[in-house]
């Protein structure tokens, strides 16, 4: 873990997420050990590692779906504490996309997208609807606006989930294995949306097994194992010249 800090803000020079000495326990089990990383604005960070290595826990701590036990997490200048108002602000500024989509099955696609803007940001219905339609255009499925999630394919559902997160105009997007629950032929349509998003300058932290995506758009790749960050580096170094033995072993298993 040599130059984590040195590398941190290379993208734009401004930090947006800082994790300092973060530990997280589930009972006796330590899910995160001494995590230190700083993520810059507009940076795309891909987190990889074997299952159970703490990747998901890491990004779930960033929007407080999990509470870290030690250390400091600062998102856009706000430290995550037990103060519910701070948590609320951080959650509004970070979108999250889940492996299982987690769309609201009792609402139509457009209502899924406009629920939070209308309820949390108090947007007018007309404005929220227009924005939602623009987002659906962007993810390529405007014709599905009046359908229910159950009527869509997995790839379409995940694209709606991305649109739902974007509707809150977040500064950071967290992706928790967004393509792992998809049939192979639908992975590309979701990755395409994510690539477009990255190229548009969104700050993104992506937990994924899609190495192609990591090579194509990541500014840095983070390799985790046993709750620790083992190695961090730009993809060209990371994939071609890994330093740590555990990284080499992992890459040899998946590539």
């Amino acid at each position: 873990m040599t130059d984590v800090f040195a590398d941190a803000t290379k993208a734009t020079g401004d930090a947006i997420i800082e994790l300092i000495d973060v530990d997280k326990f589930f009972g006796e089990f330590q899910a995160l050990k001494d995590i230190n990383i700083i993520i810059g604005k507009k940076e795309v960070v891909v987190v990889i590692g074997p299952s159970g290595s703490g990747k998901s826990t890491l990004i779930r701590c960033i929007n407080r779906l999990e509470k870290h036990d030690r250390g400091t997490i600062i998102v856009d200048g706000i430290e995550l504490t037990d103060d519910i108002r701070n948590i609320q602000v951080v959650r509004r500024e970070t979108g999250m996309v889940f492996q299982q989509f987690n769309l609201f099955p009792h609402l139509t696609v457009i209502d899924n997208i406009t629920l939070a803007p209308r309820q949390v940001r108090r947007e007018a219905k007309k404005e929220a609807d227009e924005n939602a339609m623009a987002l659906l255009e962007r993810v390529g499925i405007p014709e599905q606006a009046r359908k229910y999630p159950g009527q869509l394919s997995g790839g379409q559902q995940q694209r709606v989930a991305i649109a739902r997160s974007l509707a809150m105009r977040p500064k950071v997007m967290l992706f928790d294995e967004p393509t792992s629950a998809l049939d192979p032929e639908m992975i590309k349509e979701v990755l395409d949306v994510m690539v477009e998003l990255a190229q548009g300058g969104m700050t993104m932290i992506v937990v994924t097994h899609e190495m192609g995506f990591a090579r194509q758009v990541a500014d840095r790749v983070v390799f985790m194992a046993d709750g620790q960050i083992v190695e961090v580096g730009p993809p060209e170094h990371f994939f071609l010249d890994p330093q740590e033995d555990r990284t080499k072993l992992f890459l040899s298993q998946i590539l």
Binding site: N63, R91, F104, L115, V120
Partner: protein, 415 residues
Amino acid sequence: MTVTPARPEDRMPLPTSAGRGVSEWARTHLFRTWYDTLLTLMFGVAFAGATVALIRFVGAADFTILRRNLALFMVGRFPRDQLWRPAVALILVGVFIGVMAAMTVGSAIAKAAESGIPMTRSTPWAVLRRFWPLVAVAAFILTLTRTIGPAVTVLATLGAGVGVFMAAARIPWRLLRRGWLLLLALLAVIYLVLAGGGVNWNGWGGLHLNLFLTVAGILFAFPLGLLLALGRRSSLPVVRWLSVSYIELIRGVPLITLLLLGAFALGFFLPAALSPGQVIRVLIAITLFEAAYIAEVVRGGLQSVPEGQVEAAQSVGMPPWKTMRLVVLPQALRNTIPAMVGQFISLYKDTSLVTVVGMFDVLRVSTAVNSQPDFLAKGLESVTLPFAALLFWVGSYVMSREARRLEKRLGVGER
């Protein structure tokens, strides 16, 4: 009667659409093998025998006992010169149902217009078919009346309901969608004042009492049960502990005990103004009892909503109570419909337990009238009890059917 075929090649052809004829259907379904035939004949004879017996019974039955005591069956010992009160209250219920139907249809139309999916409007004939058991029983009861009053009341109720529905259908009800609960509460209050105002509360009885206790019990117990279920999942230990204690305490006591306590002990705890009569005390007991059960039904529904739903709502910054109200509860309550309706149906039948505190509900009336001099020891329970059973059945069956309809419309079981 189909039986698992012995050999694969015996397997019945898949049923195709019409055109195969009744005889073909009967051959494959009723008379495939000799034991199919035997079973078909046995059940056929038994069914025919039962039908004949039923027809002879109904044909031979003397409904005089019902005819003469119809008012007792319907309203118990409610003062006869005050019967206009429940009659007016019933017409009012018709008006409210008309308004609510208009609201439901109105918002369905609005939704259809928005989504571009055309809505199928039900015809009056379809509505009649939907409620046929109710219509049939109401018609049967009207044939037993000896005065014009009941028929006038029923017609006025129907007319008021349909009239208001037609008139109200023009109003853009979407604005008032949340007014539903308010309307219901308003109805309950007006009903209480109108039907009971100034009349001896202890005189309530008959089917009127059963229906009132059921509807009012549901109306009051549902919100209370919802609060208890939410309290049971609260992060505040005191609230959680109080909810659990209440639920477990009430569920550990038979309804009869609560009714007796309500009737005889509630007076000590409440100021006289709050317990004006037996009906209210019994209603309080039923409400407290039902709330505990409804709370558990709702809890089951809450647990059926995946944790990911809450996380998704949180991740877009929804505060906890909005997450509960807009994301969790709609899904949870939808999932509870079957259990909830089961609870309501059993409440309807449990209202007959109020006889233990001396109230003349419809079941009690149906046994008591057999002590009248004219009908004493004639075994006419064979007429009065089936009549009471019919009244319970029709209510339960309509509730059950309507619930299944609602489930279908909300797509329970689909995700």
